[in-house]
């Protein structure tokens, strides 16, 4: 049952959008703003940037031999397996009075780097990969949880020129996560 699927082909195919181009900057700005909204606990505003056909997942990661590297990503049971409705449900919970896993909230920094953008068959959709280093500080613990991953996104340009997140797959690096839960978004 350890089914492992290859990366979906719709991401990572087309031409690169040149680093520093206007289009690249617009999408990079979207990613930076998104990180700021999450770090500032403006979850409803973040939710407004999600497409209603959102697919939001975080595969498990296994330690495998080099020859089996592709099998180190596990997409059967995952850490997140969400859609628009369930992510909005999470936001609703976190915005309530009793979501103790994030109340008091963690102090987080989402550092976004190594952003590469490719065109897709749809001129208004972009396959965007980015690295995320998320630091999570809780209570008075001087130790900070570090969550690192590569995000493979599908970002869609709406008719008004704004962007929405249509798909995110967060490829976490740790086979055993070093944080007590994923009550924070990646």
């Amino acid at each position: 049952m350890q089914q492992v699927q290859e990366q979906n082909s719709d991401v990572s195919q087309g031409q690169y959008v040149a680093v520093g181009s206007a289009e690249y900057s617009a999408i990079l700005t979207f990613l930076y703003e998104e990180a700021a909204l999450l770090d500032q606990l403006r979850l409803n505003e973040w939710g407004a940037r999600l497409a209603t056909d959102l697919v939001y997942t975080a595969p498990l990661r296994h330690t495998r031999l080099g020859v089996d590297h592709a099998k180190s990503f596990v997409r059967s049971v995952m850490h997140f397996h969400d859609d628009y409705r369930s992510v909005m449900g999470r936001i609703l919970r976190l915005s309530g009075q009793s979501a103790w896993a994030e109340d008091p909230p963690s102090r987080t920094r989402r550092l976004i780097t190594n952003v590469l953008i490719r065109e897709t068959a749809n001129p208004n959709e972009f396959a965007v990969t980015s690295y995320l280093l998320l630091t999570r500080s809780r209570f008075s613990d001087h130790h900070v949880d570090v969550i690192s991953c590569e995000r493979r996104d599908l970002i869609r340009r709406e008719t008004d020129g704004s962007f929405k997140l249509a798909k995110r797959e967060a490829l976490l690096d740790q086979s055993v996560l070093g944080t007590a839960n994923l009550a924070v978004f990646l």
């Binding site: 049971v77 997140f80 397996h81 369930s86 896993a101």
Partner: protein
Amino acid sequence: MLTNSSPVLSDGTKISELIYPETREVQMRVLSDPEIYELEMEKIFGRTWVMLGHESEIPEPNDFIVRDMGSDSVIVARDKNGEIHVTLNVCPHRGMRVALTDCGNATIHKCIYHGWAFRPNGDFIGSPVKRECMHGTILEESELGLKKARSVSYGGLIFATWNIDGPSFDEFLGDAKWYYDMLFLRSDKGMEVLGPPQRFIVNANWKTAGEQSAADGFHTLTLHRWLGEVGNYSKKGPAEEESDEPDLTPEMYGVEVSSPHGHALRCIDLARKIRRLTGLEPDDLTVQQKLDALPPAGMTKDMVAQLSNNLTEDQLKVLTSMPPQVGGMFPNILFGFVYIPQPDGSVVGSMTMHTYIPRGPNKLEFCNWIFAEKDAPEELREKMLKQTIQLFGTSGMVEQDDSDTWPHMTLAAKGAMGRHMTLKYQAVYETGKPEGWPGPGIVNEGFTKDDTQWHWWLYWNELMNAE
């Protein structure tokens, strides 16, 4: 350090002095003391049966997974004949870990250090440069294999123990087996994992999670209060909207089963759900009618005919009125076979199990498996998988709050004063079995109480004080 009676800690305190049977209290020192932790590795995880995974994780010959029995890494491997073996993941030559990956398929497990090689069943095959005989002639080759644990499969769940001549697995489950069979042995083909387990670290003593899994009902009311505020149990009816207070109390009624071996099950009353689904009084319905209205969590209407092949009439009676929904197995297992209400009024089941692997006095690894019946339709499996991930485990909206609580208890138990405070289990049942209850064990009915958790601690105490 050991004496004839209770083990004595370096400050002269006996382990047995940390448990107060008269008042049903446990000194919090047990949650943080490194000496106690080391004793537990020998006296609990070195003696009892420990869950390692499920057969469906290693379906093919020579498949293996690497898991933990307490503080020891073990290889769980299927041999070419399909038989499953559990062996210590330590090379008998110089102590290197033999299997370095999380899983794989290997006919030979070869240590990367000096090249000693072993079969999936742990037998020694040989060492490099045979004529030079690196492994010497002092020991027989039959003595050079990986250390073998005693293992058993129960409903496909793989358990192992180092207590080679100890109680059988059935003896270990005791009366509680009657109830666990309703979960793990109910269907013709059995269950399977929907993938490998989620794994993550919580900075907490393993017992904070272990004792909670021994069926803490009360915490749901407060820690999981969001379920009544915005979650699946939030009130919808117009009459109830007048109150701002979320009400999870109806989910607190049922029957609780505990065991002299620390096993615990909360059998939660299905009456409300059945009433809502059928509009009829559950007492007026036959077992079959109830099964049709609300199949057991994770089963479909088409599958319920299988139940009578595998369970007794008495078990069916319990399964359709007050099925075991959450609980644990001693020492570090949680099971959840729950009915998740859907927005359209229907119900989707969730079948999950956790182990809380001790990683030191202040650290545990949370390991979460998600299951489905082997012959469950694809559409149901997909729903169960998504909903279980969304509610339980790493990102689970319910269990996020648990894993953020246990570290605080562990920290509190380190305080010079805090460690002398006690955990209290003083909500005591006075009801006993419901009339006509057909099941065995220590059984009480009504609103949840602390008895099951207290029995968990009594068994902990018994094992810690055993020779």
